[in-house]
């Protein structure tokens, strides 16, 4: 945006403020505004900055193709600074002041929970691009990342299979907050259902940013020496991963003996690590940079051109952002307007191609169909795909947990839909407070 433009926008804003709802800023007629709500400073900046760049890249690409509904798209970027209450404030600012048509943003579940009431109150749409713990389905949110049944459970299935090493003993190593707690609750129940004995499951929580993993890694080694094939399921978050993997490498825990499968470690996180001693440890995602499809090759090359660096990696949340953006574009085109309810009505059932050679379809519960990919870390910091499933429909309310059995979500009609429908009692209840 040029200075002049910004002045005009400011002027327009001033006019709106003084004249109330009567005046519409002149500039708004020419463009459709899109909100980008990602932390550019603070602890989450490490992950979220890339997504901000991705959104700007996607919007730029769309504008080159002629924009949307004959108008150019305009990104409005705000910085909620990894501060959860500030997310809500910034979301309100985007919707009420800037008048954006949709918002792409958030990373942590805490930030998503923080902005939810704002999106409900002002009736706008949030596209949420990160894998999360499930147990949610809202009218105003499209979840383009994985639900637990699209990441955690297939990963565990893979390790249990003969191909994955017939694992019999499990360490669930996690950071102490809502996503790992819920995921571990689901996983523990799932493992017990599969006949794993309770003494073969060890759950351990560590604080955020934990840096001294000596005791934990030694405990994993000891737990793994009981004669049964052992694996670690890691929901360790963010910065704590680097010291964890460094300690694993130093204590000589090799992937052939005790593989570690992680749900929060992607190409970006590995960029800061020397992976020679980590070859074979696993990650489960819906996308890897190493996916060998023409769509992905084109995406990576365009991305490198846009960001002007051919060493910048791509990762799973980027693909989720890509899917979310394309779905929104398709829905707006189908509805012929950016009006929230019309777009929400149009988006359910829409499909767009994903980067792994399949399609992503929006389900009535506002989750997507996604393939599950299991990758092994390679010495060059990339993942090698050792297993890829067909598209799995995202399940908002996990069937594994007894309290969620028979709960469905259906937003086919955004006005009368329900996010927590109990098929047993045929009632639409409020979600239990989490």
């Amino acid at each position: 945006m040029t200075v002049v433009n910004r002045m005009i926008a400011g002027l327009g804003l001033g006019v709106t403020m003084t004249m109330g709802a009567m005046a519409v800023p002149a500039i708004a007629a020419d463009t459709i505004k899109v909100g980008v709500l990602h932390s550019l400073s603070g602890t989450m900046a490490i992950s979220e900055t890339t997504l901000k760049d991705t959104m700007l890249f996607l919007i730029d690409e769309q504008n080159k193709k002629g924009g949307l509904l004959g108008k150019q798209l305009e990104a409005v970027v705000v910085d909620p600074a990894s501060d959860w209450p500030l997310f809500a404030e910034k979301a309100r600012e985007l919707i009420a002041v800037d008048g954006v048509a949709a918002v792409f943003g958030c990373w942590t579940s805490s930030s998503r929970k923080s902005v939810l009431p704002v999106f409900k109150e002002l009736n706008s749409i949030l596209f949420y691009p990160v894998q999360y713990e499930g147990e949610e389905s809202e009218k105003n949110v499209i979840y383009t990342g994985a639900a637990p049944n699209q990441q955690a459970i297939p990963a565990v299935d893979y390790l249990m299979s003969e191909e994955g090493g017939s694992v019999k003993r499990w360490v669930l190593e996690a950071t102490d907050y809502v996503y790992p707690r819920t995921t571990n609750k689901i996983l523990e129940q799932y493992l017990l259902d599969k006949g794993v004995a309770a003494e073969d499951i060890k759950i351990n929580y560590t604080p955020f940013g934990f840096a001294d993993w000596q005791t934990e890694v030694a405990a994993i080694k000891e737990f793994g020496s009981a004669g049964k094939k052992t694996a670690v399921v890691s929901t360790i978050n963010g910065d704590a991963n680097t010291p964890f993997y460094k300690e694993l490498a130093n204590q000589g825990v090799s992937a052939e003996d005790i593989p570690v499968v992680a749900f929060s470690v992607g190409e970006e996180e590995l960029a800061g690590l020397d992976t020679t001693n980590l070859v074979g440890h696993l990650a489960a995602w819906n996308y890897f940079q190493s996916v060998d499809t023409p769509e992905n090759a084109a995406f990576i090359s365009e991305w490198h051109k846009y960001i002007k660096s051919d060493t910048r990696t791509t990762n799973d949340p980027m693909e989720a952002a890509y899917l979310g953006f394309n779905l929104w574009v398709a829905a707006v085109e189908k509805a012929g307007t950016t009006d929230t309810d019309a777009v929400l009505k149009a988006i359910v059932g829409l499909s767009v191609p994903n980067l792994t050679g399949g399609t992503a379809t929006v389900l009535p519960n506002h989750h997507l169909t996604k393939p599950v990919l299991i990758g092994e870390i390679q010495a060059d910091g990339q993942f090698e795909i050792v297993k890829q499933t067909a598209e799995v429909p995202g399940d908002a309310w996990s069937d594994v947990l007894p309290e969620d059995k028979g709960i469905e979500a259906d937003w086919t009609d955004p006005l009368t839909g329900c996010g927590h429908f109990d098929t047993a009692t045929q009632t639409c209840g409020a979600a239990p407070a989490s």
């Binding site: 490490i46 005791t215 010291p243 992937a255």
Partner: protein
């Protein structure tokens, strides 16, 4: 001569193992190698077994390349080739006759994939084939892989290798492997009993695992013997466990000491509440990254010595930044602790954002030099090299700092100024200069800590935040203004934390430590080693 016979035995033995009839002829060998590139993981495994069955000495390097991910398939003619990356191209070599096969770009060739399961099998196969190799390192890894698999069919091969082995370390591994195999096989009871004794004598975790596994399948007469063995190892391990936890504690203490010792000068000696202390540590870590990048680009041969350059570089750089901060901000705020706190906190945010803008928000890779990777065993203790060097480094930094404070003119002036500023000033000491130097020293030491922390933690803009609270805790607990207090404080907190962690978990352990510190500070507000004297009362 004996060697050749042994080799022959190995080949024959491998033949006997193989599920396929071995028709090892020159052409067939090439065909068999090509088969590695086709089909899925099970096909690849079959192809590998067929290759192993030939007993050909060209096989281990091929399998090793496959496991390392340097074996590729050329898409145009489906040939399996070694590929070595040079620049943007791959140099291709034929694995069968070693001839040059030209070059290719990454789009033309495809890596032959292996997964964890296959990698394990490759290791075993290489093990079988290299047990008689003249190279002692490959013999050792061969013995270890046989130990891991403990296939009774290996026994004759192992026996012959054992007879020829002279290296005591390899011999002991082979002995253990032999005992494990005997225990599994249908040998007579006395042999098995001897085998249990051999295993129990090893006394480590691996030996215990072997015995636990054997217990279920063992005949009833043997069970009590095995159980005794397990119990003996268990008692032994428990003792080592305590020692190991103490060691972890010392290692954590050294990290705490490094992070806090700079603060014990700026906060402890000068009384400045420096919230940007963690960012000095972070700048030190980034200096390490920059130094490594320079070395990587201009003198790759010196990579192993990169930290030797990084330590002085980090000290100088952060010391200069420290002096600039003192001259630019802090000197205007002496005697106003609340403003200092706010100003330095703002400064810490600003520094983080500057680094984030310059280097990007993602973690930077600082590679460990080869002498800091891996671990070694002392009795039942497993000591990792990087932690050991960090302990040594922390002690060295502490000792040097003591020397500087107690034996140099600058140290004398620092102590004089902090004890009685006006008196020092009237004795002709340039107090502003000493203030700047002291703050620079504290910052420089924090920068050196950053070099060490870059080896175990993320090099990211947030690095410092993780250490600032711990640093203040150590300094306050140890007693403000006393380096020895910082040392003892770090030791007590580190060891205490690591002793609590196995019982209570990391989250609760940390809470307990915090509560204990609060109670302690209630009881002794000046910390462990309180400075006595008039200056304290000011």
């Amino acid at each position: 001569m004996t060697n050749r016979i042994l080799r022959l035995i190995a080949v024959l033995f491998a033949l006997a193992l193989s599920p396929l009839p071995a028709l090892a002829q020159a052409n067939d060998f090439a065909v068999m190698v090509q088969a590695l590139g086709q089909g899925g993981f099970p096909d690849r495994e079959a192809a590998m077994n067929a290759l192993v069955a030939t007993g050909d000495e060209r096989v281990p390097p091929i399998l090793q390349a496959m496991s390392d991910g340097t074996l590729y398939l050329r898409k145009s003619d489906q040939r399996v080739l070694f590929a070595a990356k040079s620049g943007s191209e791959f140099k291709l070599t034929d694995p069968v006759d070693g001839s040059d096969a030209g070059t290719a770009v990454s789009a033309d060739i495809e890596k032959i994939k292996v997964n964890n399961g296959l990698r394990g099998k490759i290791r075993t196969a290489i093990g079988t084939m290299t047990l008689l190799s003249p190279d002692s390192a490959s013999r050792l890894s061969a013995a270890q892989s046989i130990l891991k698999n403990a296939d009774p069919a290996m026994l004759p091969l192992l026996d012959s290798a054992l007879a020829a082995e002279t290296d005591p370390k390899i011999k002991s591994t082979m002995d253990l492997a032999r005992a494990v195999i005997v225990l599994k096989s249908d040998a007579v009871l006395d042999d098995k009993r001897a085998a249990v004794d051999t295993i129990a004598a090893h006394g480590d975790q691996a030996a215990q695992t072997v015995l636990v596994n054997a217990l279920a399948a063992a005949p009833d007469e043997l069970k009590p013997v095995i159980q005794t063995g397990i119990d003996a190892i268990g008692r032994n391990l428990q003792l080592w466990q305590v020692a190991q936890n103490l060691l972890y504690g010392v290692s954590l203490s050294s990290v705490l000491l490094l992070a806090a010792i700079g603060l014990s000068i700026t906060f402890g000696v000068m009384g400045i509440i420096n919230m940007a202390h963690g960012e000095m540590v972070m700048l030190g870590a980034y200096t390490t990254f920059v130094v490594q990048e320079l070395i990587r680009n201009f003198a790759p041969g010196l990579m192993d010595y990169s930290l030797a350059f990084a330590v002085p570089a980090a000290f100088l750089f952060t010391a200069l930044v420290g002096i600039a901060i003192e001259r630019g901000i802090i000197r205007w705020l002496y005697g106003r602790p609340l403003e200092t706190l706010l100003a330095t906190w703002g400064l810490s945010l600003a520094l983080q954002q500057v680094v984030r803008t310059l280097f990007g928000p993602t973690n930077q890779m600082v590679s460990p030099p080869s002498w800091m990777t891996g671990a070694f065993d002392v009795g039942g203790l497993s000591i990792t090299w990087n932690r050991l060097w960090i302990v040594v480094f922390a002690i060295a930094v502490f000792a040097i700092l003591q020397l500087v404070l107690n034996r140099t003119a600058l140290g004398l002036q620092m102590r004089a100024v902090t004890q009685n500023r006006r008196m020092a000033s009237s004795m002709g000491i340039r107090t502003p200069f000493v203030d700047a130097m002291t703050f620079g020293l504290g910052s420089g030491v924090a920068g050196m800590a950053g070099v060490a922390l870059s080896q175990i933690d993320n090099v990211s803009p947030n690095l410092g935040q993780g250490y600032i609270i711990d640093s203040f805790m150590v300094v306050v607990f140890g007693g403000v203004g006393n380096l020895w207090g910082t040392l003892i404080g770090a030791l007590m907190l580190g060891v205490g934390n690591k002793l609590l962690e196995p019982q209570f978990g990391a989250v609760l352990g940390k809470i307990i430590i915090l509560v204990l510190i609060i109670l302690f500070i209630q009881w002794r507000p000046r910390g462990l080693f309180a400075l006595k004297g008039r200056s304290i009362e000011q």
